[in-house]
């Protein structure tokens, strides 16, 4: 399999790297300290068409294939130090993919253009206070009422929730069937009666990403707000996870490559005991491990992306990519702190922020333990 970038992909990646360095990185330290969602940068990313990449032109997208989208987000993750912003963008794309794959014609025509232009911010809500990894133990219900459904329940930790205009909400429509056939997906619009969002939750990292709670109290959703068919929620979720576990690792791999590059530079420049610290094997092996993981990560990522590009099932490949790249990133960030000594611990040198950001990657989109469970099952257990 040939994983090299086409000339067009290479040019797009270069443009995004320059854009991110010029437009997205300045001022990050202050934004991070304040912990606010950067609406102005969201706007700039939208103008760069970052939210439009994979969607068909007839729905306001730019019609690039998924592999190109992955290649571009890989470059974005590499160049953009604001990992919270990058995560917000990927969430929007994943919401769009669900509408594109499962929505009806009217829903695609109505919602995809505003999603691809960034005019409306989207969120996807599965996790609840009592159910995270065990996602289908959710308690939020959607009961039939004349002309639609009534939602009751709450969601938590939802990316983009405090700033979202639209939310894809997964809820139980048939408690007897529950996890398979009993869950459905609804598009809820901000401002709907009975729907409210909590304040952004304070987090250890990804501080420019807005995460929060959502509350549904007798919130009426017309039939036109059902995405896909009733009972299709669990399958939509499984399908969405395969795309998510490809697009997000693309960004994480880019981050890992940046950490590696900066670690090499530091290990060459910093001297101790009369030599560059990179000449101590204890340091060089940490860097070698980062390099090894970056190379293997790229293989995992692009084999998963190539399958999704052809609309193939890729539960195994996407789980491998998510698990391997997120864990490799966390280890690389930890090692990057260590090889900088005390400076690594100082905010000014940025690696402590990268470490805090990286931890989230082993939690969202299915924890590392849950990825291992999937792999065990696919291995035949």
């Amino acid at each position: 399999m040939d994983f090299s970038f086409t000339p067009e992909q290479t040019a797009m990646r270069k443009t995004i790297v320059e854009f991110a360095r010029r437009e997205l990185n300045p001022g990050l330290e202050e934004r991070y300290r304040l912990g606010v969602f950067p609406h102005d940068l969201w706007e700039k990313c939208a103008q760069m068409r970052l939210l439009a990449l994979p969607f068909p032109e007839e729905y306001g997208g730019d019609g690039f294939d998924f592999l190109t989208t992955v290649a571009v987000y890989h470059a974005l993750g590499y160049a953009c130090k604001d990992s919270g912003l990058v995560h917000a963008l990927t969430t929007q794309i994943i919401c769009g993919i669900q509408i594109w794959l499962f929505g009806n014609e009217a829903q695609k025509a109505t919602f995809l253009p505003e999603l691809a232009s960034g005019e409306a911010i989207y969120a996807q809500a599965i996790t609840e206070p009592g159910s995270g990894s065990d996602a289908f133990a959710m308690r939020t219900t959607a009961t039939h009422q004349e002309g639609g459904y009534v939602l009751n329940g709450s969601k938590t930790m939802i990316t983009n929730a405090p700033v979202a205009n639209r939310v894809l909400v997964f809820a139980v429509t048939d408690a007897a069937k529950k996890s398979f056939g009993g869950i459905s997906c609804f598009l809820v619009q901000a401002g709907s009666a009975g729907f409210s969002a909590g304040k952004p939750m304070e987090k250890m990292g990804l501080r420019t990403l807005a995460n929060g709670e959502l509350f549904f109290e007798a919130c009426f959703i017309p039939n036109s707000g059902l995405i896909g068919r009733e009972g299709q929620g669990a399958m939509m979720f499984s399908e969405a996870m395969e795309w998510e576990r490809t697009l997000i690792p693309a960004c994480l791999l880019g981050e890992l490559e940046r950490i590696l590059e900066e670690a090499v530079k530091y290990a060459r420049e910093r001297h101790a005991f009369g030599q560059p610290i990179g000449e101590f094997q204890a340091v060089s092996h940490k860097i070698a491990r980062m390099k090894l993981n970056a190379e293997l990560g790229a293989l995992c990522l692009y084999s998963a992306a190539a399958l999704k590009n052809r609309r193939k099932r890729a539960a195994l490949e996407t789980s491998v990519a998510k698990l391997f790249i997120s864990e490799s990133l966390k280890q690389a960030a930890l090692d990057a702190v260590q090889l900088r000594g005390g400076y690594g611990y100082m905010t000014e040198y940025e690696v402590e922020r990268e470490l805090r950001d990286s931890i989230a990657a082993t939690l969202y989109s299915g924890t590392s333990e849950m990825q291992l469970n999937i792999l065990a099952k696919l291995a035949g257990l």
Partner: protein, 81 residues
């Protein structure tokens, strides 16, 4: 092997992981009995798409299409045709 036999064979060996005393019947409920769940169905889909060179679209990803060997075979045959 015909479509039903291929599906039966996969479910028995790859999803149940054990030989059965009597083979799974075409109408045996797979979802209610827990043989197929939301994770298992993705594995099954992957097998079906590769084996029969088909691509099941979003609207057909409905639990009722995977409720028995019979419904799965009907789905597959609709794509092969």
């Amino acid at each position: 092997m015909n479509t039903r036999e291929i599906i039966r064979d996969f479910i028995t060996t790859e999803m149940l992981h054990q030989p059965l005393e009597t083979p799974l019947r075409d109408d045996a409920p797979l979802v209610e009995s827990g043989i197929i769940d939301s994770m298992g169905v993705m594995t099954l889909l992957s097998f079906l798409e590769n084996t029969f060179s088909i691509q099941v679209s979003g609207e057909d990803l409905m639990p009722e299409n995977f409720s028995s060997i019979e419904t799965i075979a009907t789905l597959v045959e609709r794509y092969i045709r």
